[in-house]
């Protein structure tokens, strides 16, 4: 099948820079398999309930449709002898993208035909009739297959085109797509914040009644982010970072002070204006930031790959529970997690101490082990802590 697609195309493009058919075949087929995999893990069925642009694009279909775009874009790139990607030129990228997309669609259509013909639910639980109904789009198997092949080819063409359009246009497209996706995915957060700021009419206008952006608001958001993308410069993140480092120390210090002040103000006042959902999210963010900072000391600064780091988190959580749970033998009514009085701070001190002791106990003997042995010892320690804390023996 790949040959019948490939041969006439290659004779039509007698450029000096021929299409790398092997690469196109590889990425086209991989794209089709990836789509089938995404469908088989049940992502389409589950995520279909989440509209992105109401009513015609759900997250489930988006989970499939990004594949031909991305994989064709990879197929359209070509490689230097040293393995680095060189920018593709004109026709070649478009043809590569189109063929890779068609190939992905072909594989995926084949997958749909297979799951429609054979009942595989006994083995792969997600390949049920519901998935087939979704994927055939209520248009019958033959029409749906054609639609998938052609649509995927079209998306592949888009992916190929992404490689050849000039930089500003590429940034515009990337910004617009990211903006729309973010606004749609963060729907509840955006609603929460706009309610906190008393500007509900914004979120009411952006989102459809049953969730997801409306077509109009999606277009507007895409336009806004597209303009932002056009206005942005093309420096990479590492270049920006380098620029920051190259700043005059005095200027940099002032900028740092301003950044810290803004962060502190935001941390203090932002939770007051937003609702419970966003605050819960922010609390989790803070938790993970704290854990990440701790892990950075061990893995980043000391260079010790500690896979059981989270065990210290468990030690702290367990100690807190032992001290404050009414079911625990150490429970006293006075000792609560009250951070306005002294009790909460006392508990926090004890917890810190226990976690630090656990760290010293584990760290002292293993510190001299070589890299991967250290990793496995800490992993084992993490497992020991998990099993112990879940066992009947240490149940409070």
């Amino acid at each position: 099948m790949t040959d019948t697609l490939a041969r006439p195309e290659s004779s039509e493009s007698p450029t000096s820079d021929p299409v790398d058919w092997q690469r196109v075949q590889k990425w086209g087929a991989l794209g089709g398999l990836t789509m089938a995999f995404i469908a088989a893990i049940g992502a389409v069925t589950v995520l279909d309930k989440r509209p992105i642009i109401s009513p015609w694009l759900s997250l489930g279909f988006l989970a499939l449709l990004w594949v031909p775009v991305a994989f064709s874009s990879i197929a359209a790139a070509s490689r230097n002898a040293d393995g680095s990607d060189i920018p593709a030129n004109g026709d070649r990228a478009l043809i590569s993208g189109l063929v890779a997309g068609l190939l992905s669609g072909l594989f995926f259509a084949l997958f749909i035909v297979i799951i429609d013909t054979f009942d595989l639910t006994e083995i792969l639980v997600n390949l049920n009739p519901k998935l087939v109904d979704l994927l055939t789009l209520d248009r019958g198997l033959a029409a749906a297959s054609m639609l998938w092949i052609l649509g995927s080819g079209l998306l592949g063409l888009v992916g190929g085109a992404f490689k050849v359009i000039p930089g500003p246009a590429r940034r515009m497209v990337a910004y617009a797509a990211t903006g729309v996706l973010m606004m749609a995915l963060l729907e509840s957060i955006v609603i929460d914040i706009s309610q906190g700021l008393r500007i509900e009419f914004v979120s009411d206008w952006i989102y459809a009644l049953n969730g997801g952006l409306t077509t109009l608001s999606a277009a507007v958001i895409a336009a806004i982010f597209g303009v932002l993308g056009f206005l942005s410069d093309d420096r990479t993140l590492s270049q920006r970072r380098q620029d920051r480092i190259n700043l005059d120390p005095e200027v940099r210090r002032r900028k740092n002070v301003i950044a810290i002040a803004v962060t502190v103000l935001a941390v203090v006042f932002f939770p007051m204006i937003v609702g419970g959902l966003t605050n819960e999210l922010l609390a989790n963010v803070g938790l993970f930031v704290l854990m990440g900072l701790g892990l950075n000391i061990v893995v980043g600064s000391a260079g010790l790959l500690d896979l059981g780091y989270v065990a210290f988190f468990a030690v702290g959580a367990y100690t807190t529970a032992v001290l404050t749970s009414p079911l625990s033998p150490f429970w006293t009514p006075e000792l609560t997690l009250n951070f306005l009085g002294w009790e909460g701070w006392l508990i926090m001190g004890i917890v810190l101490l226990m976690a630090a002791i656990a760290g010293i106990l584990v760290g002292t003997p293993v510190i001299r082990l070589r890299g991967d042995y250290l990793a496995i010892v800490t992993l084992g320690f993490g497992e020991i802590v998990r099993v112990l804390f879940l066992s009947d023996w240490l149940a409070p």
Partner: protein, 388 residues
């Protein structure tokens, strides 16, 4: 190691005296099941050991290779069971299932190597390690999503097989016997392959020194693929042993046996094939007996045993005459005095849910081995660049 063994022995004697231990029959049962599980760990450990020997990193995804084999093997077994073949000709069907599991595991292992590890061939050694953890999580979750989270249960073996056979006073269930035979055959087969065949020799050469092996005309990439393939096929055999011993398979099945098999590989000396097999069996026995010996009714004999062992350790330190360790001696002495005091004060802890602590014993063994004897019981066999 001596520490742990003496502790165990004294604990066992103490239990015998106290009479609160298990009956002799129960101990024998524990030993048999320990050996059977241990031989499964041994087969898995071979995969870790060989990859570590050749590439110098811990392939965490090996447990998942094993799990995928067991999972696909289940579907084959289930199909055979429905066709009625499982009951009528069990040996044939278990052979079919075994071939399916071995092929799946081998394919998975080779695929992982090609996709994930080959691009990282010249990366620092921790990079493939972290990659393998990622691959492990990916496979675990992908399988869970693909086939569902429920535990799949292999059809029961026919009754003529599950009846116990009496050998040397040990009552061994037929399935366990089959497990032992299969494990022994595959281990001997692998040993012959590595020691006698040309490919095996090439493998050992690559493990010793990649550059020189390449200069001698060995295709290093091909040998590495072969290593993964052989390790994967051993994981496939282990998957069938698992299926016969426990019957239940889920997406999370691979993690614990994987880590324990790595423990076994370290215990026997990583890179050492015989060591991996013996380490696996030792770990299996230790895991089966450990919780009962070490933790059952933590009464007076345990602290006393502790104290005796610590005293022995202290004396041997003195006899070794290393002045640098004198400071350690003070600590050991103080600890042993304290332990005996605790022991004779009649202090008793009873631990409920002992079998839950099986994994704790295994991991403690891992940590103790890595700290006190990281080269394992039989010594490491690593290439020059991997020796630290």
């Amino acid at each position: 190691m001596a520490f742990v063994i003496v502790w165990g022995v004294i604990g066992a004697i103490g239990l015998g005296l106290e009479g609160n231990g298990l009956s002799a029959e129960a101990w024998k049962q524990l030993i048999v099941s320990g050996v059977a599980q241990g031989s499964m760990y041994g087969l898995l450990a071979l995969g870790y050991s060989m990859v570590y020997g050749v590439l110098g990193f811990i392939n965490f995804a090996h447990g998942e290779v094993f799990m995928v084999g067991a999972m696909v093997g289940f579907f084959a077994a289930d199909a055979l069971f429905r066709a009625g073949l499982w009951e009528s000709s069990f040996i044939l069907s278990i052979l079919i299932v075994m071939v399916v599991a071995i092929l799946t595991s081998t394919f998975t292992a080779v695929l992982i190597e090609k996709i994930a590890y080959r691009p990282l061939r010249n990366a620092p050694r921790l990079i493939p390690l972290i990659t393998s953890i990622g691959i492990s999580f990916f496979i675990q979750n992908a399988v869970q999503l693909l086939v569902g989270p429920a535990v799949k249960t292999y059809p029961a073996p026919p009754s003529w097989l599950s009846d116990p056979v009496d050998i040397l006073g040990f009552k061994i269930p037929g399935t366990t016997l089959l497990v032992l035979v299969l494990a022994l055959v595959s281990m001997v087969g692998l040993w012959l392959f590595v020691e006698r065949s040309t490919t095996g020799r090439a493998m050992r050469a690559v493990a010793e020194d990649k550059e020189i092996a390449a200069l001698m005309g060995i295709n290093v990439d091909r040998v590495i693929v072969m290593t993964f393939a052989v390790g994967g096929s051993m994981a496939g055999v282990a998957a069938i042993l698992w299926a016969m011993l426990f019957r239940g398979v889920s997406a999370l099945t691979g993690f614990l046996p994987g880590i324990k098999a790595f423990t076994a590989a370290v215990l026997g000396g990583i890179g050492n094939i015989v060591g991996a097999m013996v380490g696996g069996v030792l770990l299996g026995i230790f895991e089966a007996l450990g919780p009962n010996i070490v933790l059952r009714g933590l009464s007076w004999q345990i602290p006393v045993a502790f104290a005796v062992v610590l005293l022995v350790a202290g004396v041997s330190v003195v006899l070794a005459g290393r002045t640098a360790k004198r400071k350690g001696l003070v600590v050991i002495g103080a600890a042993s005095v304290l332990m005996s005091l605790v022991g004779f004060s009649g202090f008793t802890i009873v631990i409920p849910g002992l079998s839950q602590l099986k994994d704790v014993v295994a991991f403690t063994a891992l940590i103790l081995v890595l700290i006190f004897k990281p080269s394992g019981l039989f010594g490491e066999q690593l290439g020059k660049e991997d020796r630290a």
